[in-house]
Symmetry: C2
Subunit: 478 residues, 2 copies
Amino acid sequence: MNEVSINDILHSNKFLDKKVSISGWVKTFRANRFIALNDGSGLDNLQCVIDFENTDDEILKSISTGAAINVSGSLVSSQGSQQNVELKVDSCKILGDCNPETYPIQPKKHSFEFLRENAHLRTRTNTFGAVMRIRSNLSFAIHDYFKNNGFYYVHTPIITASDAEGAGEQFRVSTLDMKNPPIDDNGKIDFKKDFFGKETNLTVSGQLEAEAYAMSMGKVYTFGPTFRAENSNTSRHLSEFWMIEPEVAFMDINGNMKLAEGFLKYILSYIVKNNIEDLKFLENRLIVEEKQKPQNERGELTLIEKLKFVIENEFKIITYTEAFEILRNCKPNKKKKFKYLIDDWGTDLQSEHERFLVEKEFKCPVIIYNYPAKIKSFYMRLNDDKKTVRAMDILFPGIGEIVGGSEREERLDVLLKRIKKVGIDEKELWWYTDLRKYGTAVHSGFGLGFERLVMFATGMSNIRDVIPFPRTPQNAEF
Amino acid sequence: MNEVSINDILHSNKFLDKKVSISGWVKTFRANRFIALNDGSGLDNLQCVIDFENTDDEILKSISTGAAINVSGSLVSSQGSQQNVELKVDSCKILGDCNPETYPIQPKKHSFEFLRENAHLRTRTNTFGAVMRIRSNLSFAIHDYFKNNGFYYVHTPIITASDAEGAGEQFRVSTLDMKNPPIDDNGKIDFKKDFFGKETNLTVSGQLEAEAYAMSMGKVYTFGPTFRAENSNTSRHLSEFWMIEPEVAFMDINGNMKLAEGFLKYILSYIVKNNIEDLKFLENRLIVEEKQKPQNERGELTLIEKLKFVIENEFKIITYTEAFEILRNCKPNKKKKFKYLIDDWGTDLQSEHERFLVEKEFKCPVIIYNYPAKIKSFYMRLNDDKKTVRAMDILFPGIGEIVGGSEREERLDVLLKRIKKVGIDEKELWWYTDLRKYGTAVHSGFGLGFERLVMFATGMSNIRDVIPFPRTPQNAEF
C-alpha cells in the first residue's frame, strides 16, 4: 500500500524535498521523460521525471498507458506550469505492463457505450474516476448528515415475502428446481417447499420496515439496494439501484419537506467542498458535450452553478392543486404543446409538466404536496378533504422527480379502509397495522433514488454511467 | 419531529430550567405520577412528573406502557437518585394509546424467540434498542474509518450472472413463469428469455468487482448485502447478511493483516466511546444470562473488558503450519477430545480448533495465514512453495472466524492455471483476468461478516438477534 497517496502529495507542502516511493498506473508518457502517474486517489496525476539516459531500455519500453509501475525518488518544485511539485525518479520498477496494441482504454476519447462494455476498466478514465469519487463522497455525506442529526441506520431486508408496497414489478427469489417445481393440490407452484417456505421477491422499498423502526427508535434511515423488474430500457431506469429512505416519528409533512431540503443541500454542499476538482473536470466535459447541441437545448447554468443554485436557494413549495392551475393555464398546455394535456384535476403529472414547473416557471427545485389520493399509495396520510393525501415530490432541474415522500396514515381505521380499497389482504400487513394499534403517532419519510442524485451531481445523462456495474433488461454482465 | 431529543436533554446541562415539548413512548408509569418516557434517541428514559390531581382521568388511564404521548413543561433538577433532570409536566397529550391487555411487549422479560416473532416491535425493548444503536454506530464507524484512510466506497452488484466466486449456494433471481418456463432446443430452461437474458443469482461476495475498482481507484471497499442459500439453521448463519470488503492495490498480505487489525480496533473503539450506556446495559444482561450457566462455561471477561482486550492488545500472527503443529500437539488432540482430530497437514481447521487457539492457547485474537492452497479459493496468491496461499483468517474469542482475506493472485499465467484446475470456464472471468493483463499489481483485501461483528460487540449469542428482520431457511417474515 502506498504510504502516502498522490492526492496527499499534490495537496500538501509537507512532502517537498522528501524521498517517496509511489506505485500507480501510467496515464501518459511523453518525450521518453515525463510520466503522468495516477494511483486512484484523485483526478490529478503526479508528474514523474525519469532520466531516460540512465534507464534501462526495457523499462522505458514498458512505461506505457495503463502499466502499473513503482517509482521512487525526491519530490521537487516543478518547472512546469501544470503542477507545483514533481517526482525526480531515482528508480523505476515495472509491476505489470500493458500492451498498447490490445489495451481497450487508449489515451483518447471513448464513447460511453464502449466504456459500459468495459465497465471493469472504465474508472481508469478521468470521467468515470471523477463520477465514482463523487458517488463515494455523496454516500459518505448521506451517512454523515444522518449521524449528525441523530438518525440510526437500519438495514431493511432485501428478500421479502411482502409485495404490499406495490411500487413496481418484482424479481422472484427461489431455489426451487425450475424444470420440476413442486405443485400443490390446486395445481399451483408449491412455494411452501421453497427455501423460505413461501414465495419471495427482491424488495422494492424498505419503507414499511423502516416505519417499524421509526416507531421505536424515533429517527431512522435506510440506504440499500432496491429492485424493479420493469422492462424499461431508458437512460433513467435501472433494474437494481440504491435508495435512501429516512423515516421519522412525530414528524408531519411540513417537517418532512424541511428535512428533505436540508438534507439535499447538505450532501450537495459536501461534494462542492470535497470534490471541486472532479466537479470542474465534469463541468468542462459537459460544456464540450453541450456545444454539440443546438443553442436552445443547452443548459443555462454550468454544473457547479447548478449545484450552488440548489444549495443557496429556497425550494419552491406548492400544492398539487396550485401546480395543476399553473399547468392548465400555461402556454404549452393552451397551445397543445404538451404530449399529455392538463384538463382534469386528479391526473398524474408527467415528466414534461414537472420540467416545465422547475425549468420554466420557477427555475428552482420545486416541492409539490397534497396530491390526489387516487394516484398515490395506500399508506399516505389522507387529508380532511378526503380527496388529497399528504404526499410530496421534489423535482430537480434536468432530472425531474428526485424525492418522493409522505406523511404516513397513522390512524388504524383509515389505514384499514385504504388497504381494503386497494385490494390487499390486511393479514399480510398484520405487523404494519400493529404499529397503528400500539402507540401510534404522526410520522413521515421519503425516498431518494441515489443514482438520480449522482446524475444530478455529476451531469451524467445516462443512469448506467453513475453506478459501477449497471443491471438493466438483458444486461447483468460482470 | 422533536426539536430536542431525550438523549440531548440527558447529556447536556443547557436545557435545565427550559420549557420543552417532547413526544415519545411510555416505558413505565408509576404511582400515577412518574412517566418514564423514551423517544428512541437512547437507552435512558426521561422521567416526567405529572400532576395527577389536575390531570384528566381519561388521560391518566391512557398513559400505559407503549402509548405514544406528547408532554410539555419545564426541565428541573430531579430529586430522585436515578436522574439529574426531570420534566415537570404542564400538559400531556395522548397521541396513540396502547391496550395493555393486547400489547405484546409487556413490561417484563420476554424470550428472544418470542421477540423474533415480534421483530417489528422488539426494538421497543432495552436490549434490542441497544443492539440496533450499536449496529448503527458500527456501520458509521466503518464508513468513517475508510473515509479517513482514503478509501472509496463501491456499490458492487447484488444480482449477478457469475457464480465463479464459489463461496456458497446461490439464490436464483428470475421473472420467468415457473409453471411454464421456456425450454431451449436441448430441453433445458431457456434463460435467454429471462429478464437479464441469462441465468442470474444473488451475489455471495462483491470481491471480484471490488478488485476491478481497486485496480483503478487504489483503495476501495464494499458494504452491502450478500446471500447464501445453504440450509443452515444455526445461531451463526443467515441467508441474507451484510458484508464489508476492502480491496487495496499495491498491498500485500502483511499490509492486509495490518489493515484488518487497525480497522477492527478503530470500529470497536468507536462504540466503546459512543455507546457506553448501551454496552453497560448489554454487559449486565450478559452477566445475568451467564449466571444460568455452569461456572466453567462462563466467560472470563465481561463484554466491555472483551472489547477493550481486542482494542488494546496486538493480534497474534501465526502461519497455518504453526497453528497445525500447536494443535497436533495440544492436550485435547492427544486425548482425542476434539471431534475432528488433527493428524495431517492440509486439513481445514474447525471451529473447535480455532476456539482452542484463541481462547486457550493465546487468549487473544489470532491471525492465521499461509493456508494450504487446496482448501482455499482459486484467486488467492500462491506462495513460492506451491503448497500454500497468502490467505489469512482472523479469529475472535467466542465468535471464531470474523475476517477472511488474502493477497490476490496477480500473475495471469498462475491465475489461469488455477481457474482451469477448479473447473471454471476462463471466458466467464474474462474481465477478471483482464485486470492481470493490463497493469497488474500486487493487491489484497478481506471480507468481514457484519453480523458476526455485531454479535461480538453486543454479546448476543444468536445472529438472528443482531439484524432487524432476519432471513433464514423457512423464514422471511415482515
